[in-house]
């Protein structure tokens, strides 16, 4: 005789859950973000009503503060070379803002669409160099030249993106790397003396409005950089929340699922790629103005790696994290070089002095440590702290999972 035991563990006895849901239903459900912020959403949807306004309020205050900085006399010795109303600090802060914006555009590729591109620098550099060449070679005014540059970069990103996106994962990363490498070589080769080769291209200020030229106008360039950052942030947020953005996110999570539903991942990815590249070019253009020139390093794989480091430091998947990472990286990079010249460092024995004199060594080590011990980056750290003291765990996607989905 045999004994059979009937297992009733809840759902199976009613039968509906196992037989009622078809495959298609389950797929549909998986694409729809769960009711409470389960997917990667901007975390403005909090439980308590006050929380809804906390983040935008903070952002507004922060923005106001940043805008007013050039008129204030704040000194942060060590960190800022001069007081905040003076050109030295303004130049540095403007650069930080621009790099934050650049990191943000990269975040859109990696953190949102899961496109691990190793050639993003190409578009930043293209923006800088194309604008520089147009200003140098043609008599175009600044605005027309900027518009033309953007059009050209859209074409460039469209062309390279359409080719690269035919593959995904590692092959995609390699194609983007190769394109950027080609660009880098082209720039260094100095065809027709257009790019200035290794020396770089210096800015021809003839057509540039006076208020953007000269050390005394660094303030205006700072505000321009701030405007670019806000613009990039707005566009990235808009894309992220748009249908294309959501589609790209879904694609990142599970490409096959999306394809099974008959949607085309290619177009969404290409859109994100082109927008990201174009925004990067905007940053590049302002960079040209700020630095009064363009250098080959901007087009190099090294620069893309820096963007990657910025985004990871800040925490993948977080817009604020990307900006923070960009700012932090730039600050460290710029200041550590100066710090290395200081007497205290110079006086140290070689075994300490040498590593401390190389900002990239410190940044690289910091990066390794962050990856090993703090994989969520700064944003993840802040979130964990917030969860500990704020009580509610934000069910945002773990940045590490986001990154895992990129390749």
């Amino acid at each position: 005789m045999s004994a059979s035991t009937e297992e009733s563990t809840g759902t199976s006895s009613t039968g509906t859950s196992s037989t009622g849901t078809t495959v298609k239903d389950r797929l549909q459900a998986s694409l729809t973000p769960p009711p409470r912020g389960g997917g990667p959403r901007p975390s403005t949807g909090g439980a308590r009503p006050e929380r809804r306004f906390l983040k935008p309020a903070l952002a507004a205050v922060g923005l106001l503060f940043l805008a007013l900085l050039p008129m204030l006399n704040i000194q942060v010795p060590g960190l800022l070379p001069t007081a905040t109303y003076q050109p030295g600090a303004l130049q540095l802060m403007a650069l930080c803002l621009l790099m934050g914006a650049a990191a943000l555009t990269y975040h859109m590729l990696i953190g949102v669409a899961g496109l691990l591109s190793f050639g993003h620098a190409l578009y930043v550099g293209a923006g800088a160099y194309l604008l520089g060449i147009l200003l140098e070679r043609t008599g175009m005014g600044l605005i027309p030249a900027m518009i033309l540059t953007l059009v050209l970069v859209v074409l460039l990103a469209g062309l390279t993106g359409s080719v690269a996106l035919r593959v995904s994962g590692i092959p995609f990363a390699m194609v983007t790397l190769a394109f950027a490498q080609a660009g880098s070589v082209l720039v260094r080769r100095n065809p027709g003396s257009a790019t200035g080769g290794e020396e770089g291209l210096s800015l021809n200020t003839e057509q540039v409005p006076a208020f953007l030229v000269g050390v005394s106008n660094t303030r205006n360039l700072y505000w321009l950089a701030l405007i670019v950052l806000v613009l990039v942030f707005a566009v990235v947020t808009w894309i992220q929340n748009s249908r294309a953005g959501r589609l790209a996110e879904a694609v990142r999570e599970n490409e096959n699922r999306v394809r099974v539903l008959g949607l085309k991942p290619y177009v969404a990815k290409l859109l994100v790629f082109v927008v990201g590249g174009t925004l990067a070019a905007c940053v590049g253009m302002v960079h040209l103005l700020l630095q009064s020139g363009a250098v080959p390093k901007t087009v190099s794989a090294d620069f893309t790696i820096s963007l990657l480091v910025m985004v990871v430091l800040g925490g993948v998947g977080s817009r604020w994290g990307a900006v923070l990472g960009g700012v932090l990286y730039t600050l460290l990079d710029q200041r550590l070089t100066v710090l290395a010249q200081s007497d205290t460092i110079q006086a140290m024995p070689a075994i300490l002095r040498v590593p401390l004199s190389e900002p990239l060594f410190l940044l690289g080590t910091l990066f390794v440590l962050v990856v090993l011990f703090m994989p969520g980056g700064l944003a993840g750290f802040v979130r964990r702290m917030g969860a500990r003291y704020g009580g509610r765990t934000n069910r945002k996607k773990d940045p590490v999972d986001l990154l895992e989905q990129s390749a």
């Binding site: 194609v175 900002p359 990066f367 390794v368 990856v371 895992e404 390749a407």
Partner: protein, 293 residues
């Protein structure tokens, strides 16, 4: 005719260098799924310390040269083993973080090397014979190629024998195909990981020393562009395939030489080749089939 012979043989030499760097990359990726950016550091340090050794013993002596090769190999191996043990192992199965960690390591290491050795290239020399040329079919071939190419060939042979004839070689071949099934047979793949990393590092170190002779100089920047081309070669040949890496290395090396000489566009041609290969065969010339769209 003599130009063609020259370009062919120099191309082969360049291919030999590419192969030495790419072979490790390919095996590491194939077995572990890690795109190892730190390979640049392995080859650079191998070249730098190899050069220091040669200088100590006497740069123009054969003993110095041979020793530099050996030391380059060892340095690469040690650095690679340490990297795998300290940085890669703790991140078991987290591939993206493993890649990131190698990116960070490469960044930090190269910066450190720059701090120690400076950024300017140091022009090196080997035994006098290597600096001379031999005439073959009218072409003046730099003698160092007669060492680089056969050495790379020997390494290829050695690697193939290792993979085919040893138990660990078998484990690696199986693991490249299906890592989880290897563990499901009760085998601890992690040892194979360390082994593959170490071998890759050793070969990269060797490649670094030979590269410095090929290009004529040594500097912390040596790894940079070489690494990128090694990546391209690895992807063209097919990640995980040793034979693919060998074939792709030769094709890329020769193509680059010809394109550079006649039209100055060697680097572009390589990029176009990569794009063409990836668009027609995403898994590379000889890689295992990747799940395609």
């Amino acid at each position: 005719m003599s130009t063609i012979v020259l370009l062919l043989i120099t191309g082969l030499g360049l291919g030999a260098v590419y192969f030495l760097v790419a072979s490790g990359l390919s095996l590491i990726y194939g077995l572990m799924g890690v795109l190892n950016f730190a390979h640049g550091a392995f080859l650079t340090l191998g070249a730098l310390i190899g050069w220091e050794t040669a200088r100590l013993v006497g740069a123009d002596s054969w003993g110095g040269f041979a020793l530099s090769l050996l030391v380059g190999c060892l340095v690469g191996a040690l650095l690679a083993a340490a990297t795998e043990f300290i940085l890669i192992r703790p991140l078991y199965e987290r591939h993206i973080e493993q890649v990131l960690v190698t990116v960070g390591l490469n960044l930090a290491a190269i910066a450190l090397f720059e701090g120690v050795w400076g950024t300017d290239p140091v022009f090196i020399q080997g035994p006098t014979w290597m600096g001379m040329t031999t005439e073959i079919l009218g072409a003046h071939i730099s003698n160092d190629l007669f060492i680089t190419i056969p050495l790379a060939g020997l390494v290829l042979l050695g690697l193939v024998l290792f993979l085919k004839k040893t138990r660990y070689g078998m484990i690696i071949r199986a693991g490249v195909e299906n890592r989880s099934m290897v563990t499901a047979l009760g085998i601890d793949v992690r040892r194979a990981f360390t082994l593959v990393f170490t071998i890759g590092g050793a070969v990269a170190g060797l490649g670094g020393v030979l590269a410095s002779h090929f290009f004529g100089y040594v500097s912390p920047m040596l790894g940079g562009s070489l690494l990128i081309f090694a990546f391209i070669v690895t992807v063209i040949g097919g990640l995980g395939s040793l034979a693919g890496a060998a074939v792709a290395a030769v094709v890329v090396g020769v193509l680059q030489q010809f394109a550079n000489f006649y039209w100055g566009v060697g680097d572009f041609v390589v990029v176009i080749l990569l794009a063409v290969v990836l668009l027609t065969r995403p898994s590379g010339l000889m890689g295992r089939k990747v799940a395609t769209a």
